[in-house]
């Protein structure tokens, strides 16, 4: 993977020194809170409900073991012994003290990490397919392009004061695991007629209070044109994006108000104008970055023992069935380590767990780790012969949960347990659902099902693209939960449909159970997934199950 150059290192350390000075000036009164707030946000430091929160970028979700260990050390030394992995492949520390933050940022700089541009109206952490560089279905590893975009967008003078925040996601596979259609820019790698890799460019997707699926503005963009094209999109947005209304400032609204055709024309015009200014330096840099992402030296060894172990051990088999994905090297597997143990907080890992994951990545995983937007940890390159030993080590540390892609593998934002913007809690809802279906031993029978929970309309929990989405709201001083059904964040992305009136906190679990019971009753076979059933039947049977006394229900 990419290691910081001297330039990167000097840039990040200069920023840490600047921020240390800013914190000191805030504490001695030289800076007011009004002056300090934008400075701390530029460095990823928020003030939440109970404490400060530091959001650290994990570019395109990739970590090496040294970085993972350092995150564990930060969790133990300056926080409460854990960190929270987010839906944007970041990690959040929920309890840092203001005066400790410069030391934390310095510890991050020691391992080539930072919290720059994890807040504010700028280009945020570029997210990528968490199986990048390993997936069997991949055309090319998208991370070199993501790293190029990171370098280009970091402190880019033209794009530090965009109308609103800007999120780019990229995948190298036709199967979209990076939710590219719900991003400001989504880049999906495809091949042209000659077999050359390039990108399908999607603009204007997003969730939040106005959820929209992005529009294709280019069927095929040659790789060499990527940077000027992305710059053209940003320039057009920077000019047209609305600064008069924060809620209409995202590019999805710009596209909606301008029209896809006109927006495409403006982007293409701007692209034609700036393309000649890119004299090939970006491509030379990309070639250097690509070399840093060369695949590991894969081992060539027999895998038969793993198959025998799988046949003999039902616990291992259950885990292998849900938590492994196809690697492009048939002797290898992609391992998803679930951070969704039943009843635990989705996406949280303790310092000890982080250190163990770092050790295991070194021992069994060619020293690579990934964080998924689904809040799990990935070991992308594990030789199949190592899987039984890896699983045993994970299970001992509470990391062996066999539920990836199932009903308890829930995305949940921090919600009102931490977030100052939240209107209701998310985490306890996720905990209750996971515990309940685990106790019923039903989740493997239910099969693939994505539940996503957000604690406010900003939709950090991606509820709009959950097969079942749950949105927590404040209705007259009481937590109330709205359900959406049929959402999909993949290459066949769809915004979920609202089922009807919301449910009180103690009624949301029974409501989810009624949906599941209806699904199990009407699916055509155990192979028909929840989403397939919903697409076949529509809302009707689920609505009937959710609101058996339709008419008697209070409108939420």
């Amino acid at each position: 993977m990419y290691d910081y150059s001297d330039f990167d290192d000097a840039f990040v350390r200069t920023r840490v020194a600047q921020f240390a000075g800013q914190v000191a000036r805030r504490l001695d009164g030289s800076l007011t809170e009004e002056e300090f707030r934008p400075l701390r946000l530029m460095n990823g430091l928020y003030l939440q409900l109970h404490a400060y929160m530091l959001r650290v970028a994990i570019p395109y979700g990739t970590l090496n073991p040294r970085q993972m260990r350092q995150l564990g050390l930060i969790a133990d030394r300056w926080d409460k012994g854990y960190g929270h992995f987010t839906t944007r492949q970041n990690i959040q520390f929920n309890w840092p003290k203001l005066e400790d933050v410069p030391a934390i940022l310095s510890a991050l700089a020691d391992v080539g990490m930072h919290a720059i541009q994890t807040s504010g109206n700028c280009v945020r952490n570029v997210t990528a397919d968490h199986f990048a560089g390993a997936a069997a279905d991949e055309i090319e590893d998208p991370r070199p392009v993501a790293e190029l975009l990171r370098q280009w967008s970091t402190d880019h003078p033209e794009f530090q004061f965009l109308p609103r925040k800007f999120k780019i996601a990229i995948t190298g596979s036709p199967n979209d695991r990076a939710v590219t259609r719900a991003h400001d820019i989504g880049l999906r790698m495809v091949r042209d007629a000659a077999g050359e890799p390039g990108f399908e460019v999607i603009v204007g997707g997003g969730l939040g209070r106005t959820p929209m699926i992005g529009h294709k503005v280019r069927e095929f963009l040659p790789k060499a044109d990527l940077l000027p094209y992305v710059e053209a999109i940003l320039s057009v947005y920077n000019m047209l994006g609305r600064r008069d209304n924060k809620y209409k400032a995202r590019i999805k609204i710009t596209v909606h108000e301008t029209g896809v055709e006109e927006m495409t024309r403006l982007i293409e015009d701007r692209f034609a104008q700036i393309r000649p200014q890119f004299g090939g330096h970006d491509q030379a840099l990309l070639a250097e970055i690509e070399a840093a992402f060369a695949p590991p030296a894969f081992r060539d060894a027999p895998t038969g023992a793993c198959d025998a172990f799988r046949a003999a051990d039902p616990v291992f088999r259950a885990w292998a069935d849900t938590n492994l994905a196809l690697h492009r090297n048939p002797q290898y597997a992609i391992v998803t380590v679930s951070l969704k143990a039943h009843g635990e907080t989705p996406g949280d890992a303790t310092g000890d767990q982080m250190r163990l994951l770092a050790d295991l990545a070194e021992r069994y995983g060619h020293s690579e780790l990934r964080i998924s937007h689904e809040q799990n940890v990935i070991l992308p390159h594990v030789h199949k012969s190592d899987l039984p030993a890896l699983h045993a080590a994970l299970a001992q540390a509470g990391l062996g949960t066999a539920n990836v892609g199932l009903i308890s593998d829930i995305i949940a934002c921090p919600g009102m347990d931490y977030c100052a913007l939240a209107t209701a809690r998310s985490i306890p809802v996720a905990q209750d659902i996971a515990r309940h279906f685990d106790a019923l031993k039903l989740e493997h029978d239910i099969g693939p099902l994505k539940i996503k929970i957000s604690g406010c309309i900003n939709a950090c929990g991606h509820h709009h693209v959950g097969h079942i989405g749950i949105l927590g709201l404040d209705r007259a001083g009481v937590e109330s939960y709205q359900i959406t059904l049929g959402g999909d964040g993949s290459e066949t992305a769809v915004i979920g449909e609202r089922a009807g009136p919301g449910f009180a906190c103690d009624q949301i679990l029974p409501a989810i159970e009624r949906i599941i019971t209806a699904y199990l009753a009407i699916r055509q076979s155990p192979h028909e997934t929840f989403l397939e059933t919903f697409r076949r039947t529509g809302m009707g049977p689920f609505k009937a199950a959710l609101y058996p006394d339709e008419g008697a229900q209070d409108a939420a």
Binding site: R26, T32, H50, W95, Y418
Partner: protein, 100 residues
């Protein structure tokens, strides 16, 4: 028509720790909701808010929050304030652990 004024407490976050604090009647910042000054008068609430907001080296995000009288002192009215007064529900962290 003006509704009846709901009693308030002045609350903020501690500048250094980020922890939730409440203004007391004797001008201290307490970490306990029950030690807050319960202000029944609207003009007095504004006066106390201005007094608190001037303490820029101690607190940030000063605001008024609805509260009601309870057996041990003021209690939060809204669930958000109840969480602020207690801590998160997924771990025994924050005030619920630090102050017991």
């Amino acid at each position: 028509m003006k509704g009846r004024f709901t009693p308030k407490v002045v609350t903020a976050n501690d500048l250094r720790l980020g922890d939730v604090v409440y203004l007391t009647a004797d001008d201290r910042w307490s970490r306990l909701h029950r030690e807050a000054e319960l202000i029944a008068d609207e003009a007095e609430a504004q006066r106390r808010l201005h007094f608190a907001a001037a303490q820029k080296l101690t607190v940030v995000g000063v605001c008024l929050a609805d509260a009601k009288a309870g057996p041990h002192g003021p209690e939060p009215v809204h669930f958000r304030e109840a969480f602020r007064a207690r801590g998160p529900s997924n771990y025994p962290h924050g005030k619920q652990a630090d102050l017991t």
